[in-house]
Symmetry: C2
Subunit: 292 residues, 2 copies
DNA sequence: CCTTAACTGTGTACGGTCTACACATTGTTT
DNA sequence: AAACAATGTGTAGACCGTACACAGTTAAGG
């Protein structure tokens, strides 16, 4: 049973994939990787990533700090495994979307739900691309939503990369808004029209302090629109999958453009509805959890 | 001279705006905020944000650790000021763009240049929205590029928010690619078609390891396209600035859609050219700096 | 001028972080 | 039975940020 195809991957990644030559010689292990990661996740959920220390995790488990190092080679490993555990696997509902727009929208919204449940995920620095099963599972789910589109493989990956960044960004910004910390009106005095000719009017119009969820809704719609437009170009330009979209290609036929635009409008409305419902659901759930 | 309109802003922000009631009573100050921040930035440029400690900064200046606390109330303050200094003010060239697409593209590319020069900027967590002069200066520059568009004020801010996130994301990803750390071909074995039905083909097609700058080029183009399409809708729907784009509005006239699509195609080509030139310039500059 | 009060830079000390290493103990393998 | 590997533990070291007391410097108020 030579299951150890560990090669020489970074230790943490090998652990994440479950390929780790665990030994038979010593005394029985009293702890487990999962248990450690679970404990760490619980601490992070409760008090943030900053509260996760080797000491705190070990204490929560009733063991000593150094015992953890028999399961994890360094704290960075633990963090990586926490990330993997926290992000989890995408729900199957993403694959049941009717079209790619719906699919990507579900994908995006689900990611945000996860970030809302585990805000500390956003505190983990993106050192190396996390080539771990669950993270790749999310990527796979996103690519699945794009399976029936005329996008080239590279473009699909690019699209998911873009969407990942956007979701992360929204998660981070929404979190800062929750922690607040700025008088806002005190700041308005500092922003003079001379120094900020374009920003000052925007603030005067009140387009700054509030409406952040709407801002990202806007952003997502633009991204989807941009993708849709590009797809229309592609399918009009050539049949089949275009591997090199850099080539000169015929531009979209008028009908296609119109169709795309119509679909865009439709999707906009649907998305707004879905978002609204989601927001209400979240609000209701929060109220419920306050008075159990 | 009641210049101290400090109110009760967070200490760090007050410092960033230069409004800080500095005293007259004590002995002459031997250090300065700027000097401290400069030293910290130099350390971060050289050895990363992790190398910036109160001790290291103080040592670089030839003073004791605790002396810094006479200028900065906590390390977080210093970090905030470093961020502000590192991001700097946007170059005026952004305002000289011919159209909004060009303007936003310049904005985006310039931000990435800054991130390339000060990678540690991306290691600073986004705790609270940085309401500091330089950061708002970038926002102002971006809004300026959108000044002649039919976008509502809120939408302009949303667009810049989106672009900020994307630039940050690209900066982060490009950085991880530089530090590498993954065998890539060893990973290919783990990604089975059963577990990753959509990702496996993508990897087999080679659309994963390489081509990351192109991925973000793609992303930026989609965002700009999406914005453009939305503008077309807006200008066709109503005259003047629409404050509530959620209302039901007439959809774009066919001619407008076509025009937008044509402009999109045009801008794509231009952007590709510009990017190519930029890339060459960067490469040349790097070679030059290797053999001075 | 002299006192008072504010401010400076410094030194010490405390609690916290991660982890390298030596240690006795436990279990399997030879 | 002997060799050996792996376990959990305790100690210790090198950092980190910063609270606090201290002596010295400067300006303001009388």
């Amino acid at each position: 049973m030579d299951m150890a195809s560990d090669g020489d991957l970074p230790r943490g990644i090998a652990l994440a994939w479950g390929v780790a030559a665990n030994p038979q010689r010593g005394p029985k292990r009293e702890l487990s990787l999962e248990g450690i990661v679970d404990a760490a996740v619980q601490i992070a959920d409760a008090d943030g990533l900053g509260a996760v220390s080797m000491s705190s995790v070990a204490t929560a488990l009733g063991y000593t700090t150094m015992s953890l190092y028999r399961y994890v080679s360094a704290k960075d490993d633990l963090i990586l495994l926490m990330q993997e555990a926290g992000i989890g696997l995408p729900p199957s509902s993403i694959g049941e979307a009717e079209n790619w727009r719906d699919g990507l929208t579900r994908w995006y919204r689900t990611v945000l739900t996860v970030f809302d449940a585990h805000p500390w995920l956003l505190d983990i620095p993106v050192d190396s691309e996390p080539n771990t099963p669950n993270n790749l599972g999310w990527l796979d789910a996103g690519l699945g939503a794009l399976a029936d589109t005329p996008l080239a493989q590279t473009e699909r990956v690019s699209a998911m990369l873009m969407l990942s960044g956007q979701s992360r960004w929204e998660g981070q910004i929404l979190r800062t808004q929750a922690s607040d910390g700025m008088p806002a009106d005190a700041l308005a005095e500092l922003i003079t029209p001379e120094q900020f000719p374009f920003l000052a009017p925007a603030i005067a119009a009140g387009s700054f302090s509030d409406g952040e969820p709407e801002a990202f809704e806007f952003g997502l719609l633009r991204i989807l629109d941009g993708l849709e437009l590009h797809m229309t170009e592609l399918s009009a330009g050539r049949s089949g999958t275009v591997s090199k979209p850099d080539d000169d290609r015929e531009f979209a036929k008028d009908e296609n453009v119109k169709k795309a635009a119509a679909r865009v409008k439709d999707a906009d409305a649907k998305l707004r509805d879905a978002r609204q419902k989601h927001r209400e659901a979240v609000t209701k759930a929060r109220e419920k959890s306050k008075t159990p």
